[in-house]
Amino acid sequence: MDFNYSQDEIDLRDGAREYLRGRCTREVLRKLVENESTDLDSWSELVEMGLVGFLVPESAGGLGMSDTGFVLLAEEAGYVAMPEPLIDVAGVAAPLLAGLDAELAAHVAGGEARVVTAHPLNPYVNQLEPSDHILVFADNAAGLLDAADAGAEDVAGIDPLRRLSKVCVSDATTLATGAEIGVLAKRAALRGALFTAAELLGLTAAMIDMSKNYVIERKQFGVAIGTFQAVKHHLSTVFTKLEFARPTVYRAAASLSDDNEHVALHVAHAKIAASDAAISAAEVAIQVHGGIGYTFEADLHLFMKRVWALTGIWGDRNYHMNVVDRMIFDQQLQLGPAATFQSASG
């Protein structure tokens, strides 16, 4: 029983953090929005650092790391509100492709190809351009679709750094059939929800930090508004939510990595806890920013809008609450003390 990350995972996280905080700054994001672009143009750098092939086996040119480590990357991506589709490509598509089409997975890890994911729980594909393929999950099919054949229709969303497309899935090349489809679609949904939850943790931390800096700077009644208890308590409440959401996400990642039988419940918990923390953080952040927080000019809106988008995709709160509900009321989940973790022996 050990909740600590390995030194490898921490080193990779630290490297990604340093890179992302230098590369994807608020100034850069503002510039993109001004130019009505969503392209950070950093994909080749992410490939170079091994982040795109993070979950791809070493035999296919990836780093061969596990879901627990990727959660830390997703947190960092969230902290800077990164527009690149790292979760969809590196978190969801790449590890699934590794088991279906190793050559394509190697191309994704190496940056020669980019594959995004369309799933009933992620219906609007983000950053379709310049991807080559879409890994498509539909009711009775799992397949690969050439991006050029996707018949994509632009969809307007509120987040100026997400570029959404609705794709027509009829021409997909079949990658899987029969029972395998369900297994793959479930795996995609679990990873999508888990890493989105991790991204939400990062966004929450970023909004707390922005708010903290603002209330230290901003003076009213002759003092920094951060001296007022009403303001402090708002931020402490959100900080507490974040502290308690984080281990739920880390546990869900561990459950995915070691095939825990309750992984769906654990991922549901993670997505609910991270979404609740992020929504609260966004509301508190705009409140303590006051009027400036309601403008397009301040950076806060980029983070809030990302939160609104991410809480809804890869299973919204209703979807995941229903997972928990079924586990508790239909599946007779073992409850109470001593039921949280299992033994190594099963």
Binding site: S236, T240, E243, P337
Partner: protein
């Protein structure tokens, strides 16, 4: 990261489970805040000691088992799972014990820890004063140093209040002003004193439930040997803050307690699902998830500490989380029980012997004791987020 129990941990759990199955009283004990209940709870502590389960994390020489924090969490899970009695010794074993371990002399450790683990000496805390509640640095109770027959003593003078267990306990610990010229958190010392010493008067205070769970303590020149001071003279505030850290942090409320409550709440909901409003269902699910989150966070913190980390001001988050969760769960239960919620254990119609009502009342104390949640939120804002003090 590996979130599964090792075979050794499984074996430890089995050992605890078996011992508790053989020893936990079949009937719940009466309230530990009554004379009869207190003695029965003390006897239970002695029974625990007979199996060396008094305080598993302590070194063997002090009456413990030398367990690590994960084993402690396993012990607590089994303890609540078995429905074992409340720990009447909790002020000692969970608060003073770790403090003694860190700041006590070898002599003090040998003198005080074994009887603490055995239930032979039950401890009460004496922090607050009538004018020093949330503002604890406003402490006025004095300890004046005197020498008599070549022995050094402190004469304790003043008043403490809200001292849990003080009515029936044997010893107390608190901070006193040893430097009469000092202000605020300077010049305070941490002193251990027998509650039956001459010059110490205990006045019980009836709590919300009618029992004398806490008390006022009056000191009228009570003579206490200087050897009963923990740490250096003037170091009292620093030591008290460390104790408060243990209290807010890991030890005071283990997750098993709340997971047990969440389990009971789900059962209560199932029995009443036909008649309660749909909105209650989400509250019940949320209770389950939050109790789990508290457990996960505790294992996360324990792992961090075992790898050499330290517990800091984020301990204040724990205290906020469990106390507000506990109130939430009991409020939900009260709403499910409806017209029978007001019935006490003596009423034949009472649900679960009135335990939800008792629990709800006690849950209202959670956001107040061990530093109010308002104080905790100030601590988080100032120490974790770096916001300026007013």
């Amino acid at each position: 990261m590996h979130l599964r129990y090792t075979p050794e941990q499984d074996r430890f759990r089995q050992e605890v489970r078996q011992w508790l199955a053989e020893h936990v009283p079949a009937e719940p004990l009466p309230s530990l805040d009554t004379p009869e209940g207190f003695e029965l709870h003390r006897n239970w502590e002695r029974t625990l000691k007979s199996g060396d389960w008094g305080m598993v994390t302590w070194p063997i020489e002090y009456g413990g088992r030398g367990c690590d924090l994960i084993e402690w969490l396993i012990f607590e899970e089994e303890y609540y799972r078995a429905g074992a009695p409340l720990r009447v010794s909790q002020n000692g074993i969970f608060l003073l014990g770790p403090t003694l371990m860190e700041f006590g002399s070898d002599e003090q450790k040998s003198r005080f820890l074994p009887p603490m683990a055995a239930g032979d000496e039950i401890w009460a805390q004496a922090w607050s004063e009538p004018n020093a509640g949330s503002d604890m640095a406003a402490i006025r109770a004095k300890a004046t140093r005197v020498t008599e027959d070549a022995e050094d003593y402190y004469l304790l003078e003043g008043q403490k209040i809200w001292s849990s267990r003080a009515v029936f306990a044997d010893w107390g610990f608190g901070i006193f002003r040893t430097d009469p010229e000092s202000k605020r958190h300077r010049g305070l010392s941490f002193v251990l004193f027998p509650l039956d010493a001459d010059g110490v008067t205990i006045r019980p205070i009836r709590q919300l439930d009618g029992d004398a769970g806490f008390a006022e303590i009056f000191f009228d020149n009570a003579k206490i040997p200087v050897a009963n001071r923990l740490g250096d003279e003037g170091q009292g505030w620093h030591i008290a803050m460390a104790t408060a850290g243990f209290e807010r942090g890991l030890m005071l409320r283990s997750p098993a307690r709340f997971q047990k409550t969440a389990e009971r709440l789900i059962e209560l909901y199932k029995q009443n699902a036909e008649r309660v409003a749909p909105s209650v269902r989400e509250q019940v699910l949320k209770a389950y998830l939050d109790a789990e989150a508290y457990c996960l966070n505790t294992y996360y913190t324990a792992s961090r500490l075992m790898a050499g980390g330290k517990i800091g001001s984020e301990a204040s988050c724990n205290k906020i989380f469990w106390s507000e969760l506990d109130r939430e769960m009991h409020r939900t239960a009260m709403s499910i029980i409806g017209a029978r919620a007001e019935l006490t254990e003596h009423a034949s119609d009472a649900v679960d012997d009135g335990r939800w009502l008792d629990g709800y009342m006690f849950s209202l104390a959670g956001p107040i004791y061990a530093g109010t949640n308002e104080i905790q939120r100030n601590i988080i804002a100032e120490r974790c987020l770096g916001l300026p003090r007013a």
